[in-house]
């Protein structure tokens, strides 16, 4: 006779947060005590219907289960056992979540049917009901309650709900050099509806921050003596508290964010929940803060703008920088031929290690001859150099090539005329990355791809500075002496 087991409970967390754990068919070894190890066979994604997970249980048993249904609209997952060292036969189980609207909690229903060898019905029903389902309820509660520990750092500061939290910040009162950055005392406001407050541990430094500091984009960062501005587009840390209506993260979650408004150079910050992504255990705060925006930038450049694929001839400037190394590695994975420019031999070595096949060491923007000689020109150029390399970039471009102006370290580009571009039937673009992640769904999709890539490695090198030493970090980045990415540690 077919056995049936039903167990249900109420979890004191919003449904999207609970579903984020349960929809991952490969997550049980992170939260369920009976599972020692979980992996998806054949390298498939855990969201692939039909994929098989292989469990090693702590008691030595092994179970292989296949995903039959995954529904993000119904919050439902159905799976069956295909092979097991325990005598559960024809086992099919369904996990269903429903929102408890009265209190923003989650109803979790877990049921299964199965057959057993004669005489083992009672024993196996009890094992499934108590050992797997009821224990799972408790384990997930504990998992959601202790997330802050996973990063191995300090827990978020406790604050009375609704009160501001003191925050140290790096202020800019006048545009100019790194010396304009000064340490000050501020505070992070309590989160309003749709916002989260984050105790930051690492803050990414981007070349974009330098443009803002120099006053090149005053509309984005107005500063004055009485109202100083704060730089920084991305950071990672732990959620302190969340505003009303936030269902995707809980206090204690490790998160990273990037946003179109600067203000990340501080210890505690309140930001829209739409900017925030949760971090997998395999990606550390420093890595996420250093790489999220750079990774998204590389993703946009390779996939959307460069359409880089097998045989694409790609030229990357500042190939040993944060974005540069991610571009080299990503383009090589896609089968491209990668050219890169760097300023020193030691940077050339790092660029080669990350997949750059043709490294050009040049201190005076001479590279077009080498690219033309080796490959007949570049199909795609990612240009952060700006005006000093304007003619050289055009000379390096292949016919029908695409020149992507990402930055202008040497100064703003003189206008590019259509008549000039037509000589090579060329395309010129000047993208803003935030336009490619302007909805939470776009951000989530791209961020997931970037975080997966970061978890796989290889990681570009990261130089670390204390938050208070932001000026030194800027000087280092501008000196062109740094390799890889820079982070500030709060």
């Amino acid at each position: 006779m077919l056995q049936k087991v039903v167990r249900s409970t109420v979890i004191d967390a919003p449904i999207d947060r609970v579903w984020a754990v349960l929809r991952d068919f490969n997550s049980h070894d992170q939260w369920h005590d009976v599972v020692a190890e979980s992996r998806i066979e054949g390298g498939e994604a855990p969201t692939q219907v039909g994929c098989i997970r292989s469990f090693s249980l702590k008691d030595g048993n092994r179970i292989r289960e296949q995903l039959l249904t995954l529904s993000d609209t119904d919050y439902r997952s159905t799976y069956c056992i295909v092979e097991a060292t325990v005598p559960l036969q024809r086992y099919v189980a369904t996990v269903t979540l429903k929102p408890v609207t009265d209190g923003n909690r989650t109803f979790w229903h877990w049921e299964s049917t199965f057959a057993t060898p004669p005489g083992m019905e009672r024993e196996l029903r009890q094992m499934v009901a108590e050992g797997v389902y009821e224990a799972g309820f408790e384990n997930l509660r504990r998992h959601l309650g202790r997330r802050g520990d996973a990063g191995g750092g300090a827990r978020g500061v406790a604050a009375p709900r609704g009160a501001p939290i003191a925050s140290r910040e790096i202020r800019l009162r006048r545009y100019g050099g790194p010396e304009q950055l000064e340490v000050g005392a501020g505070e992070a406001a309590p989160p309003r509806p749709g916002e989260v407050r984050i105790q930051q541990r690492a803050i990414g430094v981007n070349y974009f921050d330098i443009y803002l500091r120099r006053g090149w984009i005053p509309a984005l960062l107005p500063v004055s003596e009485s109202r100083p501005g704060v730089l920084g587009m991305e950071a990672a840390g732990t959620v302190v508290d969340v505003g009303e209506g936030v269902g995707t993260v809980l206090p204690g979650d490790r998160v990273a964010y990037l946003g179109p408004l600067p203000g990340a150079y501080r210890t505690v910050r309140t930001v829209p929940a739409d900017w925030v992504v949760r971090l997998p255990a395999a990606v550390e705060d420093e890595t996420a803060a250093a790489m999220l925006l750079k990774g998204l930038t590389a993703d946009v450049l390779l996939r959307d703008l460069g359409r880089v694929g097998p045989g694409t001839r790609l030229l990357v400037h500042a190939a040993a920088g944060g974005v540069g190394l991610l571009l080299c590695a990503g383009a090589r994975r896609l089968g491209a031929t990668v050219f890169g420019t760097v300023s020193t031999e030691s940077k050339a070595r790092v660029a080669r290690e990350h997949g750059c096949q043709h490294v050009i060491v040049t201190a005076n923007y001479r590279f077009a001859d080498a690219v033309q000689r080796e490959a007949g020109g570049a199909d795609v150029i990612v240009d952060g150099l700006g005006d000093a390399a304007r003619d050289e970039n055009f000379a390096a471009l292949a016919r029908r090539g695409h020149w992507i102006s990402l930055g202008q370290a040497s100064g703003a580009l003189q206008p590019i005329s259509p008549d000039w571009l037509v000589q090579k039937s060329a395309t010129f673009s000047r993208p803003v990355v935030f336009d490619y992640v302007s909805t939470p769904a776009q951000l989530a999709e791209r961020a997931q791809r970037v975080l997966d890539a970061l978890a796989r490695g290889p990681l570009p090198p990261v130089e670390r500075y204390a938050l208070d030493a932001a000026a030194q970090a800027h000087a280092r980045l501008e000196s062109r002496g740094s390799v890889g990415a820079l982070v500030l540690l709060a």
Partner: protein
């Protein structure tokens, strides 16, 4: 099509909550917004197709037809035939599910309907926040008192 969904946890076993809400003619006994109720044609209140004819406390008259009743699923589905609310194609379901972890009940009340453009929000708040949540709050009070 507008959809309203409200759910709650009631601190009583599902069979006890079901005993209180199962009777299609019993709204005045448990819902504070309903003044009186009768079943048309003297049908039994658990015969599928029967029509309840009731008044809200503010005097509105509503007629609803029982479309489905399940003592196995603890669920009841009905449609509105006549009401002052200005809704069309209104179908609602009240469903209970036991929470095995403690003798509690997960209660869901949902409805789908059409209405004049611009009235969606007002009707969602009235039906979801007023009628459904109001009924749940009364059930929670009732079972919390014992």
């Amino acid at each position: 099509m507008v959809r309203v969904y409200v759910s709650t946890i009631i601190d009583a076993a599902a069979e006890n909550v079901w005993a209180r809400v199962r009777d299609f003619n019993a709204l005045p006994q448990w819902h504070p917004g309903i003044a009186d109720s009768r079943i048309e044609n003297s049908d039994p209140s658990d015969r599928i197709g029967c029509i309840r004819h009731f008044h809200t406390r503010d005097g509105g008259m509503i007629r609803e037809r029982l479309l489905a009743l399940s003592d196995y699923d603890y669920s009841c589905t009905y449609s509105i035939l006549e009401s002052p609310m200005g809704v069309d194609n209104y179908v609602a379901t009240l469903k209970l599910t036991p929470v095995t972890d403690g003798a509690r009940t997960f209660a869901e009340w949902s409805a789908e309907f059409d209405c004049a453009e611009g009235r969606e929000r007002e009707l969602t708040e009235h039906i979801g926040g007023g009628v459904f949540q109001g009924g749940f709050d009364a059930l929670k009070r009732h079972f919390g008192r014992r």
